[in-house]
Each structure stands twice: as structure tokens, then as C-alpha cells.
Symmetry: C2
Subunit: 158 residues, 2 copies
DNA sequence: GTCTATATGAGAATGAATATCACTTTCGAT
DNA sequence: ATCGAAAGTGATATTCATTCTCATATAGAC
């Protein structure tokens, strides 16, 4: 599961580098994020988990912290529309270059790695004059588990 | 600008095919959508424009209409998080296979066409068992106009 | 330690989107 | 054409994620 302490220490250094104050609340949020890499928790998830570690923290502080961390690149925010956003710590290894598979059956979010967009970005910048600073690639569909469940449900009925 | 009447007629046929009732309100929304291809209007934009054509329509009806049309594939919804969603009519030609360049300076949304994801989807389905039904590819950055404005601002100051 | 900009907690406010409900309309069957 | 059930509508209340407000507390530079 990666080294939680190391990830937190790394993030704290980045905070100082970016003139963000290191508070107990922010450290608690970072620990939660580091312990949940790959889980893509919501702000509410993070709030509840942080509560166990730092009782009394306010939900607004969690939002403010996530926002501050996102602005300096320590976390990524995955906006999912109506159902709210999800957050993830940008780990040192492979942090930024993965995309998401979003299951519309169960809501689970998995990842896959792929470059492939780099040279496409160059092409777009050259042909349109649009300067790209970020991108988002998502695939929606049904995860293996949901497909299995649907299959089971159908066969058991016929 | 394409043929507005033809697009509306095509959409109305699709509505009937999908057991959606054709009402004056929905026709008015469709006309607005057909007249604004490429503009990526918000629900509020569509509401205001539809008002001119069908005074008294309710905002909720616009939302319900857009939702119904999206469910049967007549319109696409582009979820932009905090700033609300944008909608567009899926035209017959090239309707579905374009992606978006979203300017974080002025908010304008432009498009670019590209296949490229088809064979990647196959690869993902084979390697993960995830069945893909839809995808979303977006690039964020600064459009040519905003880059020009920023450049002008800088040089005029130094 | 002092000081100032910044962060925090509690709860109010925001705003896009949805739900509710009484009433109206569509459209296939008669 | 007309009838009736199912679906759609307008006005408005409600939801819910996120942001704002403001009084208080604290981090971090000196
Ligand atoms: Zn699933
Ligand atoms: Zn991820
Ligand atoms: Zn722009
Ligand atoms: Zn578009």
C-alpha cells in the first residue's frame, strides 16, 4: 500500500514549498488521503475518516484543505457532477498519468495507465492555438463484478 | 449552421421512436438546441432562449426535457462541476465523436474531432473486463483569444 | 515571545438540480 | 372524434454538495 508516512512527509514538504501552513487538521487529512490511495473517497468520506483521527474537525476545513492541496498539485479532484467530487493524493510514482474507469452500476472507480495523450496534445496546440494545461479522460460502463452480477441475475431467472 | 428544421424533425422522430411524447415545450427546446449547435448552452441559457419562443415554460420543464432527451441519445450533457452542465444536440453528422477544449480563462468550449479512442476501448475491455458504454475526453487550458489577451496585457505593461 | 497573515469551526447561505402536487395534455384505442 | 390512462407541465418547495461569514485560534517569520 505504499508508505503512508513517506507520502505524508512528501506532501508536507510540498506544502511548505508552496507557502501553505501545516496544521494538525491538514496533516490528519493528508494521512487519510495517503491511507486511501486508489479508493477515490468523497469529501464526506474524508471528513468522516479524519474525524476519527482529529475529532472536531469541520467539514468546511476538509473542503478548504482539499482545495488548497489541489491548487498546488498535491491532490487531484475528480468532478463527478451530481454525485459530488472525489479526491486522491498525487503519489510520487505514477500519480498524475492515469485515467479512470467509472462504473455506472456500482459507482466504483478504477484506474488505468496510458500516456498516448501527450502527442495528441501537441497536435491540438499546433492546429488550434489552444494551450493545454490539463486533461481528463474517463470511460463509463460496467465493471467486471457488475457484469457478472447482471449475468447471474439473468440466467437464474430464465 | 446546418438545417435547423431538419434537425428538429429528426429529433422528433427519435422521440416518437423512444416513446417520448412530443409537446410544444419540447419542440421549443429542440429548436433552441438546433439553433445553438456548437454553443454548448447551459440549462439556464436554454431556458431563457426557449422563453422567447414559448413564454411561460418552466425551468423545471427545461431540465426534464433535457434529461429525457439525453436518456435516448438525442442530446449530450457535458457536466462541468460547480459551474453547471452544458447541453448539445447530437447532430446526425459527427454528433457523438468529438471532444472538448475547455478554456479556463473565458469558459468558451470548442471542439475537436478524433477517433483514436475506439481501439483503446477494446484494449481496456480485454485487459480489465470493464465494459465501456461511453467516454469523456476533455482538455483544459487557454484558448487562442485568451492567450492573445494575456500576451497583450503583459507587453503593454513592460 | 510578538505579530500578522492565515486557518479553523459552526452554521448560514448559495445554487444547480430534483421532487412534489394539482392540473393539463398527448396519443393509442375505441 | 372522443375517451382515458399515462405522461408532461408550472410553480414552488426541497435537496445536497459546496462555499461563505465571522469571531476566534494558531502557524510561522522575526
Ligand atoms: Zn460496478
Ligand atoms: Zn485515480
Ligand atoms: Zn478563452
Ligand atoms: Zn460539443
Amino acid at each position: 500500500m505504499g508508505d503512508v508516512k513517506r507520502e505524508v512527509a512528501r506532501a508536507i514538504n510540498l506544502m511548505s514549498d508552496n507557502d501553505l501552513r501545516v496544521t494538525p487538521e491538514r496533516e490528519a487529512v493528508l494521512e487519510v488521503l495517503a491511507e486511501n490511495i486508489g479508493a477515490h473517497p468523497s469529501a464526506e468520506d474524508i471528513y468522516l475518516a479524519t474525524m476519527e483521527r482529529h475529532p472536531g474537525i469541520g467539514l468546511a476545513t476538509v473542503y478548504r484543505t482539499l482545495d488548497a492541496l489541489e491548487r498546488v498539485g498535491i491532490v487531484s479532484k475528480l468532478e463527478l457532477g451530481a454525485s459530488g467530487s472525489r479526491y486522491e493524493l498525487n503519489t510520487d510514482v505514477g500519480g498524475h498519468f492515469h485515467h479512470h474507469l467509472i462504473c455506472i452500476g456500482c459507482g466504483r472507480i478504477t484506474e488505468f495507465n496510458q500516456d498516448l495523450l501527450e502527442h495528441l496534445e501537441k497536435e491540438i496546440e499546433d492546429s488550434t492555438g489552444f494551450q493545454i494545461t490539463d486533461h481528463s479522460l474517463r470511460f463509463y460502463g460496467y465493471c467486471a463484478k457488475c457484469r457478472e452480477a447482471a449475468k447471474g441475475g439473468e440466467t437464474s431467472r430464465s
